[in-house]
Amino acid sequence: MKIAIIDYGIGNVRSILSAFENQGANVFLTSNKDEILKSDGLVLPGVGAFSHGMENLKSYDLVDTIKEYATLDRPFMGICLGMQLLFEESEEFGETKGLGLILGKVVKLPTKDSQNEKLPHVSWNELNGKNVPWVNTILTDIEEGSDMYFVHSFIAQPRDGDNILSTTEYSSHHFCSSVKKDNIYGCQFHPEKSGPTGLKIINNFIRMCQI
């Protein structure tokens, strides 16, 4: 069983690698198309700006590879910016097209001016709202209300509510903090930075790749 982490020059991939290794996975970093398509599970990491992320995926010529992977019905997970890139488009720095694997778009996290809430949202925050059951997903055996580490200013808004796996509240707004469509998952938070609970989510993903 081999899990590929996509290397496209974005973000802190070492922590993701070591979190997967810590959970016993055979994991490797790659930007090679064949290696990606042969892997039993795929992770799209990323931090920073949406447009920068898409530009890099294009310059590494990985957009079609990722889209092809998504049709194979093997476990595929986007983390933080990697989750946002799964969607159709983002309004960050003007409209930018995404991978379009999940319907919906990426918008700025709404905040109430009156409360002077801060952006970016840098905080541990709770996973709530079971629109869909968590059993047999990456959130298997995760307790509702578990704290995960978030750092972001933009959020994904899935068009289909059934794609919303969990929500999280910030500035009185409940945003989609994890997403699921078939075997494609996304986490707005960083499971690799969220202590033992985050590692449990990674472990759940690894187990799916073994099936």
Binding site: S15, S18, N22, W124, N125, V151, S153, K193
Partner: protein, 252 residues
Amino acid sequence: MNKIRVVARIDVKNEFAIKGIHLEGLRKVGNPNEMARNYYNDGIDEIVFMDAVAAYYDRNSLSELIQEACKDVFIPITVGGGIRTIDDIKNALKSGADKVAINTKAVKYPNFIMQSSKIFGSQCIVSSIEAKSIKDGKWEVYTDNGRESTGKDVIEWAKYVEELGAGEIMLTSIDKEGTKKGFDIDLYKSVVQSVSIPVIASGGMGQSADAVELLENADIDAIAIASVLHYKMESIQEIKDTLLQHQIKVRI
């Protein structure tokens, strides 16, 4: 209110974790990796490693330490001290850091904050500010662990780094640092009112009651703790329990 992040700050010199008073008179307090692991296992929310002498010696040497730490510490790690080029940031992130704290270089070339936040994203650029009180309600920006004065006003500088793209501010009170006599509440109040990015308060905590007093008076996002943890005066759990008893939300 957001959950307050409880951060362990580990100042490093060569291979040792050290601690001083007013950022001076440094004493060895342990092995930085062992300390980071222990704090992680005890429930700390975040770790900051600061190379205490990097700016002074014009170097940057924490890569190995970070590589080691991120093998078994699965929470955000910030590295600071001696970050002065885009390559320094790349190396730090490649080694496993999530954020870099920048002080001296930003004071000399403020555009470094803008440049680096454009490349790596604001979320990974922490503006580290060392503040020294000059008169009532006025603080001056210092660099090089409180060695060099800059003539800059802390409030104005904090607003400016936000404008330049810093994603967070780590604000250290030189007057309080290492004294264990409590935070400089006026300083934090003044800065959080002036910016809308998260502020980490660093310097002065001697007991969890100091954190409560700060958090009840200023809209701070995170507290960085050194002495209380390094000298095992209170455990992380005890600190979090005290905060919870005062209706201050933390990650459990």
